[in-house]
């Protein structure tokens, strides 16, 4: 069966520090991978998606970047975090349908 692992679960970072969140999927090949952000009072916002290794599409201009170095690995990064980057970050995957499966998320607080 397929599983998705996302870490860390919580993270507190100072403004201006770098960020790296990692997500891996097991039990499936060539999935579509996604990073979503959920801010308080707002819906899930798609940040990045990837249909294959090295292929990244950005949905909104921002302070973040994503990379997919391996088929089932997706990384969200930032060189310098802003206060507005606080939120709940969810990694997700899908194969062949819109039934998207989510990881447990990372709650990121910027101080």
């Amino acid at each position: 069966s397929q599983t998705i692992h996302q870490w860390p679960a919580t993270l507190v970072q100072p403004v201006g520090s770098p960020l790296s969140l990692e997500c891996t999927v097991e039990g499936t090949s060539n999935p579509n991978l996604y990073w979503y952000r959920q801010a308080a009072g707002r819906g899930l916002q798609l940040l990045f998606y990837s249909v294959g290794i090295g292929q990244i599409s950005s949905e909104v201009p921002q302070n973040l970047s994503a990379s997919r170095p391996q088929d089932r690995q997706f990384i969200l990064s930032s060189k310098k975090l802003l206060l507005s980057d606080s939120g709940f970050y969810l990694c997700a995957w899908s194969v062949g349908s819109h039934r998207v499966h989510f990881g447990d998320g990372t709650r990121l607080s910027i101080l």
Binding site: L44, V51, G96, H98, R99, D104
Partner: protein, 112 residues
């Protein structure tokens, strides 16, 4: 701009009540509509609807889609405290990326 609107934003009911959650959408290339339940962490999948008028049912939960009027409802009968969660509606767009556009969610609280 693609948009999904859910109502109400929050709802408080007593155990045993029946609730109806609403989701309307305006998107350019509709392919499917999905409902998720989010408790503390990962949203979990409930239903995916692609055709109008066909009810999907799972236990006390059911959902239906109206592609002419561009909305969907999620019904929960005989609510239990374990139904307390945020219910998310999302629309899947046509294209190879399988992207979803989410509404803000309905926060349901079921009191004993």
């Amino acid at each position: 701009e693609d948009k999904v609107v859910q109502s109400p934003l929050s709802l408080v009911v007593h155990e045993g009540d029946t609730v109806t959650l609403n989701c309307s959408y305006e998107v350019t290339n509709f392919r499917s509509l999905l409902w998720y339940k989010q408790e503390k962490k990962a949203p979990t999948f409930l239903f995916m609807l692609t055709s109008s008028g066909i009810e999907k049912k799972s236990g006390r939960l059911s959902s239906i889609l109206d592609k002419k009027e561009l909305f969907s409802i999620l019904n929960i009968t005989a609510t239990q405290t374990g139904d307390s969660a945020v219910y998310l509606c999302a629309v899947g767009l046509q294209g190879g990326s399988e992207k979803l556009v989410f509404g803000k969610g309905t926060k349901l609280t079921v009191n004993p």
